[in-house]
């Protein structure tokens, strides 16, 4: 009896917590399908459709705005940033993890400090570089600049993963007949795959979330990505296109939230091992 009470108390708390965290998303999704007239009726219940649902806002978003283009631009930027990040951070982290002595020990923290320099401080000098390279108003400006944040962070994250792989494994592979690179690829890399997965998610979501670079480097709406394009397109003067705004963000946020959920353990593990050894 006593156990049942405790158990139901536990589940009650879990359900409460889930509702609490899911409420904003639920609200957003419900709002997407609301009729304009009901939306601005202060007396209406926000969680039910008193006048029936509609998909007109979704249609508006995909046909009358550049949202599909923003989506595509963000995807291209995200994929490129992820590729650059993984290509640079994985070998850098492995090299640093195997580097012994004073330099190797403190380099992890030094790299992490680079990540802490805020973009609002960096966008001015970086803008100069983007202009000199003739990349203004193109998505390539973001492809170039966003890795400045993702590479150091992911290097630091992966450093912890690589340090947790015993050095003897590399050496066993060398003795078994591998070259340095083969030993890395066949033996070390598979142990760090969760960390790389976490890096992919992190780099991708950071490229989606960055606002300041997107707004300052790109002023042409055809080259905008989601974070800059959506507010520009769906907030006109003081008119907020609420249902379309909700749709535009939920479409991106929900899959990303699920990916974070699946990789949560690896992210935490990466942070822990990176912190413990930085």
């Amino acid at each position: 009896m006593h156990r049942n009470v405790r158990k139901s108390g536990f589940y009650f708390a879990v359900v409460g917590l889930v509702l609490f965290s899911i409420l904003p998303i639920l609200y957003a999704v419900i709002t997407v399908f609301k009729k304009q007239s009901e939306l601005f009726d202060a007396g209406a219940n926000p969680f039910i459709y008193e006048r029936g649902p509609t998909i007109e806002h979704l249609l508006f978003l995909f046909t009358d705005t550049k949202y599909p283009l923003f989506l595509w631009n963000s995807l291209v930027i995200g994929v490129c940033v992820v590729a650059i990040t993984v290509l640079l951070a994985v070998p850098a982290a492995y090299a640093l993890a195997r580097l012994t002595g004073r330099w190797g020990e403190s380099s992890g923290m030094a790299i992490f400090l680079v990540y802490l320099v805020p973009p609002s401080l960096l966008f001015l000098p970086l803008f100069r570089i983007v202009v000199d390279l003739n990349l203004t108003n193109t998505i390539w400006s973001l492809v170039l600049v966003l890795p400045t944040a993702t590479v150091p962070f992911c290097t630091w994250l992966l450093l912890g993963f690589f340090r947790s792989v015993p050095r003897e494994l590399d050496e066993a592979a060398l003795i078994d007949g591998c070259s340095r690179f083969q030993a890395f690829r066949k033996v070390v890399l598979p142990q760090a795959l969760p960390g790389i997965g976490a890096c992919v998610v992190f780099a991708f979501s950071l490229s989606l979330a960055n606002y300041i670079y997107s707004v300052t480097f790109i002023s042409e709406s055809a080259s905008r990505n989601l974070s800059a394009g959506v507010p520009m397109e769906l907030i006109r003067g003081d008119v907020y296109f609420w249902p379309s705004l909700m749709a535009a963000t939920a479409i991106v946020a929900i899959p990303l939230g699920i990916a974070y959920g699946l990789l949560f353990d690896y992210l935490v593990r990466g942070f822990q091992s990176a912190e413990a050894k930085a």
């Binding site: 015993p166 003897e168 494994l169 050496e171 066993a172 592979a173 060398l174 003795i175 078994d176 007949g177 591998c178 070259s179 083969q182 066949k186 033996v187 598979p190 142990q191």
Partner: protein, 350 residues
């Protein structure tokens, strides 16, 4: 099978010498133990043989051919690591196959070799398991299989028994020796455990501070230690070292005898010992005592340890004074300055 040789081998890390001029030649098919305390340079020596460290100077030869500068993948040296270093993302079968694939052994031959090696080590029923689901003893067998499968001409073992439970260690030791007798692959066996070195090896090299102090069979090391370090390192408890002024006398605990059992002309030294402490170890007693007479006066009374090979209690107790003697034939002498073995008081080593 191969002969391993090192010539004036040195390795410095910064200004710290880890290996400080080692000349060592194995015999063909020998199990040669490298025995030393931690920090003695034995691991560095082994890693240079395996190709994981480059020597600072000197040469390493296998069958009279230098392997310095040859990357590990092109040396035919197999190594068993202290923690076994099994690849956790691969099954036991894939672990054993790994060196064959890396060395591009034809597929048909691979299976044949895996069958052969798993038969020898009796691990056929483990092949599909992951290393994380193996016991320590099983992991050791898999590590041995992975090393053996590619027919190395040289085996290098880095304390392969130290991560096993004490209960299975002696069994594993027997199995290692049996495996060596079957394969006769020249083996360098690095350990800090003298029980392993003495029990397993054909010959033992005692290494300390980057130098080899003595190379010999286990019996030679035990009966005739070449210097004070070896005398104090080999044996448990180690040799009693008694300062006689112009020379240091060494005697094994079991050679400390009660005076009435030895005739006068055989006696090398006659000690008046105050019994301080008795220890019962099952098949034997250890006697801890302080020497009160029979040696030159010093600041502190020298301590000696005796060993009585009987289960019955000795005929004396703590606090009593007894005469213990050491036979001429059991006494070993060392020079107090150099620490080297001598033939006796005032006589130079032959």
């Amino acid at each position: 099978m191969a002969i391993l040789e090192t010539r004036a081998l040195e390795k410095h890390f910064g200004r710290i010498p880890a290996v400080n001029g080692i000349d060592l030649t194995s015999e063909d098919g020998e199990l040669l133990a490298i025995l030393g305390p931690s920090g003695s340079g034995k691991s560095t020596l082994m890693r240079m043989v395996a190709g994981l460290e480059e020597p600072s100077s000197g040469d390493i030869l296998v069958d009279n051919e230098s392997i310095v500068g040859v990357p590990p993948k092109r040396r035919n040296v197999a190594m068993v690591f202290q923690n076994f270093a099994l690849y956790p993302h691969m099954s036991v079968r894939e672990n054993i196959r790994f060196p064959l694939v890396a060395r591009k052994v034809p597929e048909a031959e691979q299976q044949q070799k895996i069958d052969w090696v798993t038969g020898i080590l009796e691990i056929e029923n483990l092949l599909e398991r992951r290393p994380t689901r193996l016991s320590g003893g099983q992991m050791q067998r898999v590590a041995l299989a992975r090393a053996l499968v590619r027919d190395p001409e040289l085996f290098v073992f880095d304390e392969p028994l130290s991560s096993l439970d004490a209960q299975i260690r002696s069994q594993a030791r027997g199995e290692l020796r049996e495996l060596h007798d079957r394969t006769r692959i020249t083996t360098l066996y690095v350990t800090h455990d003298q029980l392993e070195a003495l029990g397993l090896a054909d010959r033992v090299a005692v290494i300390h501070e980057g130098r080899i102090h003595q190379l010999g069979t286990p019996r030679e090391l035990y009966e005739n230690p070449g210097n004070l370090f070896v005398a104090g390192f080999i044996g448990d408890p180690p040799m009693n070292l008694i300062d006689l002024g112009d020379t240091i006398l060494g005697a094994r605990p079991e050679h400390l005898l009660e005076a009435d059992s030895v005739s006068q002309e055989e006696i090398a030294v006659d000690l008046d010992v105050e019994i301080e402490h008795l220890e019962f170890l099952g098949a034997e007693w250890l006697i801890y005592g302080a020497v009160r007479g029979g040696v030159p006066e010093g600041d502190r009374a020298p301590r000696v340890i005796g060993r009585l090979r009987q289960a019955e209690p000795p005929g004396f107790g703590t606090g009593e004074r007894r005469r213990f003697v050491i036979r001429q034939s059991n006494a070993r002498y060392f020079d107090p300055q150099s620490g080297e073995r001598t033939n006796g008081p005032g006589v130079a080593a032959a």
